[in-house]
């Protein structure tokens, strides 16, 4: 019996530790920033998400865009820091996952009233990678059969049209 109680206590301790870890999320969702923009305006916040598209250099500073799965936002950061990013998310790549701390602006005065984040701290949490395409052989066979069938039908149509014109 004592053994069972001990096991139960260990299990409870273990699961509660896990719960604490999940609750202690150290960053804010982008969607929450937009939903509570007035509340977060001018505050220092931390977001975490995938870098998408490409960086756009504007002199000493650059724009990058981060998508955390809830929404996407523009980040204004030092161009030297932007160069540290190796992978940008697109069809062929999973972008670097970055953690950014900075000042959130609901309607940034410097950037024409845009909702943005001016970065003060930047960290690559997880490196991105190239996504390998998995091509299904069934897809290739279907494409080939349909193409042949289409070509045959087209030939028949052309013949019928020519015959009709004669």
């Amino acid at each position: 019996m004592q053994k069972y109680i001990k096991t139960l206590i260990w299990v409870l301790l273990f699961t509660s530790t896990l719960t604490f870890k999940v609750n202690a999320q150290s960053f804010t969702d982008i969607n929450e920033l937009i939903e509570k923009a007035k509340e977060y305006n001018g505050e220092e916040v931390t977001i975490q998400g995938e870098v998408i598209g490409e960086s756009m250099k504007r002199g000493d500073y650059s724009w990058i865009n981060i998508n955390d799965g809830t929404n996407a936002i523009g980040i204004w950061l030092d161009s030297d820091i932007a160069e540290e990013i190796l992978f940008y998310g697109n069809y062929k790549c999973k972008g670097d996952t970055v953690k950014i701390t900075g000042i959130f602006n609901r309607a940034c005065k410097e950037h024409g009233g845009e909702a943005d984040l001016h970065s003060s701290s930047f960290e690559i949490v997880k490196n991105g990678y190239e996504v390998k395409e998995q091509i299904s052989p069934v897809k290739i066979i279907i494409a080939a059969i349909l193409t042949i069938f289409t070509l045959v039908l087209m030939l028949i149509l052309v013949k019928v049209i020519k015959k009709r014109r004669l």
């Binding site: 937009i34 939903e35 923009a37 007035k38 998408i52 598209g53 490409e54 960086s55 756009m56 250099k57 504007r58 650059s62 724009w63 865009n65 998508n67 929404n71 996407a72 936002i73 523009g74 998310g89 697109n90 069809y91 062929k92 609901r106 309607a107 005065k109 950037h111 024409g112 009233g113 845009e114 909702a115 943005d116 395409e133 998995q134 091509i135 897809k139 290739i140 279907i142 494409a143 349909l146 193409t147 069938f149 289409t150 039908l153 087209m154 028949i156 149509l157 019928v160 009709r164």
Partner: protein, 512 residues
């Protein structure tokens, strides 16, 4: 028996011409196939080959089925023209959604059809998932759909298949266009495409240069320029990334896009007249006058309303966030320079109301834009003034009232009535969408905003349009976009034709 044969002939005519329209649009899938090949995107390439083949097969079968009508030289009647135009839009919506489904970026068939109809009708709302990771091939397809949708599929087919398309004018009118730039309709279709292609070259080059100047890489800048031009010119509102126009963080890029979508919202007749040296048309045309007045009033009211709420602090922010969005709504483009939820959370009821009205008014008739159209608003307004003047004048006086739209035209009760009927149809669709939204628990302002956006083929969202919204709302939005783009009559003709067939079939069954 004779009526059954007559109906059979009608179906063959419809099948024959719809088949040709399907073939021409299907052949456009070679563009994303080549794009996918160039960028080594093998899965999208296969998706497009499969979709293209299915569309070709269906198109050929439809032509073959309807060929007998051509042999018998049956004439196209008005009802056939309207049914061909409206039916081809439905068939193509289903066929063009296949690449979306195969890509895995659409959660359901309805979602895929929603996006295609949104593209064709130049609305610009999207349910496509994970836009930031879709292939260049699929992005190319999305923007091709919106570009050809702006000009019209029938217009495209007439451009390439002049000889095969007898009774072309009836199909052309069925697609919501009635302007004649040159004496024959095939020539008009070619002029429409000529105008669009010249703007495509100029607009893409300008956006490409601006794109590189704001830090995009040359190849990427070219693709973004091409996509944003296609969306702007067709007043579509699609963009290659989830942040829409906000992705670029550039006032210059937004301004160039705004110039293009204003030009796109103008009547092709005005473009043609200006090219022919008739510059006075800019000042005299009732649509331009109407657009200038309504857009100026809408911008000023929105600026005043948002200034009262202290939403934006300076003039640049006012221009980039207020004027850009109001003009985008008014021209029915749908590019958003703020987040969808910011409309709901920050703009207030007054701001939303201004946007709803601007979206419903829309751009010019016979342009790529949606909404009531400036021409109809101008005609109804002038009709009101005419009636007031008539009341004030003596019964003996006989004044002829006129308005200028490419030429001086007489303003009579028939013109006013037909404009008013279309406006009423738009309002009924808008009201139905608003009621449906509130039925599913969305706030009335949000429901009205989204309903105006789909009815006017705009594409701005307040956050209602998501893949998780009720299927009934998705279906209604698809129908509203379709009705709004074809301006009701063609769709009503299709429904009437279908119901007429069902009625006759039922009668025959009962007789036997």
């Amino acid at each position: 028996m004779a009526s059954l044969k007559h109906r059979q002939n009608g179906i063959e005519i419809i099948s024959y011409y719809t088949g040709y329209i399907v073939l021409i649009v299907a052949s456009l899938m070679t563009i994303p196939i080549i794009t996918s090949l160039l960028f080594l995107e093998w899965n999208p390439m296969l998706d497009f080959i499969i979709s293209d083949a299915i569309a070709f097969i269906l198109g050929i079968l439809m032509i073959m089925y309807g060929m007998r009508s051509k042999e018998r030289n049956h004439d196209i009647q008005w009802k056939h023209g309207f049914v061909i135009a409206s039916l081809s839009w439905i068939v193509l919506t289903v066929l063009c959604s296949i690449p979306y489904i195969l890509s895995g970026h659409s959660l359901s068939f309805v979602d895929a059809c929603f996006d295609v109809m949104s593209g064709f009708t130049t609305t610009g709302l999207a349910l496509t998932q994970d836009l930031d990771h879709i292939s260049i091939g699929l992005n190319m397809w999305r923007h091709i759909l919106t570009f050809i949708g702006g000009q019209g599929m029938v217009v495209l087919t007439l451009t390439f298949l002049g000889k095969e398309m007898g009774g072309a004018f009836k199909m052309y009118v069925g697609e919501g266009k009635d302007i004649e730039l040159v004496p024959n309709v095939k020539g008009t279709a070619r002029q429409i495409w000529k105008i669009s292609m010249i703007y495509l070259i100029i607009g893409t080059i300008v956006l490409w240069i601006v794109g590189m100047s704001i830090g995009l890489k040359p190849v990427s800048a070219f693709l973004h320029a091409l996509f944003i031009f296609a969306s702007s010119w067709s007043t579509g509102g699609f963009a290659p990334n989830s942040q829409n126009i906000m992705y670029y963080h550039s006032m210059m890029f937004e301004t160039v896009a705004m110039v293009i979508f204003i030009l796109g919202s103008l009547n092709f007749g005005i473009h043609y007249a200006i090219w022919q040296g008739k510059r006075k048309e800019i000042v005299k045309n009732i649509e331009i006058q109407s657009f200038l007045v309504t857009s100026f009033v809408a911008c000023m009211l929105a600026l005043a309303g948002l200034a009262k709420l202290n939403v934006y602090s300076d003039a640049i922010a006012g221009f980039r966030r207020v004027i850009f969005n109001v003009i985008s709504a008014h021209t029915t483009t749908g590019f958003g320079s703020i987040y969808a939820r910011q409309f709901a959370l920050e703009w207030g009821d007054f701001g939303i109301l201004i946007m709803v009205v601007a979206m419903l008014i829309g751009g010019s008739a016979c342009s790529t834009a949606g909404g009531f159209k400036g021409l109809r608003v101008g005609i109804v307004f002038k009709g009101l003034i005419m009636d007031v003047k008539k009341l004030l004048l003596t019964e003996r006086s006989m004044n002829v009232y006129k308005y200028h739209h490419l030429k001086d035209r007489v303003l009579d009760d028939t013109v006013i009535k037909s404009s008013a009927i279309i406006i009423i149809c738009y309002i009924v669709t808008f009201a139905t969408g608003t009621i449906l939204g509130t039925f599913y628990g969305y706030p009335i302002s949000a429901s009205a905003f989204e309903s105006a956006s789909v009815t006017g083929n705009v594409g701005l969202s307040i956050g209602v349009t998501t893949s998780s919204m009720p299927t009934a709302m998705k279906l209604f939005y698809i129908i509203a976009m379709y009705l709004g783009r074809l301006e009701f009559l063609s769709v009503f003709a299709l429904i009437g034709y279908f119901l007429g067939g069902v009625k006759k079939a039922c009668k025959n069954i009962l007789k036997h």
